[in-house]
Symmetry: C3
């Protein structure tokens, strides 16, 4: 278990490492907040590249140091691109961030999120309802297929997602970041609650997505838990 001092030391080292190495964290992400994600990644010192075609997803998984996959605004081409990238990332043992936005809406989204179970992401970032629903989809403790994701909004509080988040983190061996009025980060062993966000953030589209993209940048240089912590502390 990390002490607070170790946490701070590792986070500071990660920030420095990103500035020094400009890691490339490619994205397959939604059209609503795609520029916000890119700009947030650039702002923290990373490099961004967004793709949709299958061979480009695979190439970016190989070329980059990490990746951000967000299942918002799906098109037919995502059916091939997302699994191809996930499989390549898994093969290359590259860290990647999964953003299960609007889990439960539509067949393709469910299919892609089910596939992710077989090539687990280093970090999962979502709101409370998405985390509970994903744990439900993956058949894990704390999950519920009945979690009501209303469009892209959460109808659950962050703390009600603790069991689901811990289950997901233990299953993936990585970390989970639950976004909300306060943010929860867990690696399945320790749980951190981060304050400092604003209720206004729910009224601005892409705060969660850009957090996911930034976590992907940090995941290129540090452990999933610290990457999630760095992103959350910077964005909130």
């Amino acid at each position: 278990m990390l002490t607070e001092k170790e946490l701070r030391t590792q986070a500071a080292a990660a920030v420095t490492a990103v500035h020094e190495t400009t890691p490339l964290a490619g994205s397959i992400t939604n059209f609503v907040t795609i520029d916000f994600v890119a700009n947030a990644q650039l702002a923290v010192g990373g490099s961004a590249a967004m793709v949709y075609l299958p061979d480009e997803g695979t190439a970016l998984a190989i070329a980059g140091q990490s990746m951000y996959i967000n299942v918002g605004t799906l098109l037919p081409v995502h059916e091939r691109t997302v699994p191809a990238a996930m499989v390549q990332l898994h093969r290359s043992a590259k860290p990647w961030v999964l953003d299960p936005v609007a889990v439960g809406l539509g067949e393709l989204r469910t299919k892609l999120l089910s596939t992710a179970r077989n090539c687990p992401p280093a970090i999962i970032r979502g709101n409370a309802s998405e985390i509970i629903a994903l744990a439900g989809l993956w058949g894990l403790n704390g999950g519920s297929a009945m979690s009501q994701v209303r469009g892209v909004d959460s109808t659950d509080t962050v703390r009600t997602a603790l069991d689901a988040a811990v289950s997901l983190a233990r299953f993936t061996g990585g970390a989970v970041a639950v976004s909300g009025a306060e943010d929860l980060i867990t690696d399945g062993t320790c749980a951190l609650y981060c304050n400092g966000g604003s209720p206004m953030m729910e009224r601005i589209t892409g705060c969660g997505c850009s957090l996911g993209g930034v976590i992907a940048v940090y995941a290129a240089v540090v452990s999933p838990l610290i990457a999630a912590f760095c992103g959350t502390q910077l964005i909130i």
Copy 2:
């Protein structure tokens, strides 16, 4: 016919209702201004969700209280998604806003806008040229297939679109909002002219689209005419 006092009272009630119920107004909209639409909807107190796949369009038409359909930046998938959503909205008797952007450009756009005639929107929002051209496409009085929509810009003034707007409103039984230097709103019986916009708004992409998205939020809680009025008063 509404008195000004009734108009103001109903508009104030609609603003309150949106704040209290956070209606979900899903969108199928163009990629240029998709974040502006979402942020405008969130800013007035609504909930936003954007989709492109056919089953997601249908699901969102069912899950939401209203919808915004903008035919900009079409992809092949729109051929199935847009009609599926329109039909579902019609069946569910849910209010939706049609934004006939760039009507006349391309075969698919014409096909989708012709389909809309069979499952009429509660509100149509466009610039003067788009409103005249849509009335022409639907064979209504005041319309003209010859209306010159130049790309996405209007080459007609708002007042020249009055007949077309009235015809469209009477045909749909809803309301029409014509955007320009001044804005015209009509339900086919009364016509309101709203001032307060800025010539700068023509130089910022998405002012019209975000207005359409906001009207969709209000349409979830109030009549088409008042919804169009609320959106127009807030955006200009």
Copy 3:
């Protein structure tokens, strides 16, 4: 060869001509910076319209006075739309700007950029690595297929791209704009270096794309070299 005075006079005349004629410069461009491109084009006095479907690309090539084609965030539909637009622009002898973003990533991008060789753009705008790689792809002097385009970032300095830029400009008979810490503009005969940019611009996605879109607006009213100069002076 232009004198500095002639350059300034022609640039001033181009700015006036754009304000007076509001040229329509349609775009086929990436989803990351599509709103930035549109807003930049509107800000300088042009008219913008973005499309993805093949018949719309062709129609816009006919309806507009110039066009901007950026090969970022490709979808399957680009395989038909981009060549159709290029061929139409070539037939109509309309000026267009090519932005070879991320050249080398993926099969479709390479195919589209190879096609562009047969219907040459009036202006090519890219970072140093993209310009060197494109010259390499087209088999021109100064080019290198080995130029390392890292995602969408340049790993070469602007001055190292001089030979490639000159070769491309001579091949197309147009102009080339190389973006970076300083900007290089050449028509194959003279080479201008423009200062005034900021290192911050590398940290904001779309500065290059919006420059390309703006150059397309000016290309509607003036020679490729002056169009590239106008855009560069306005954006940096």
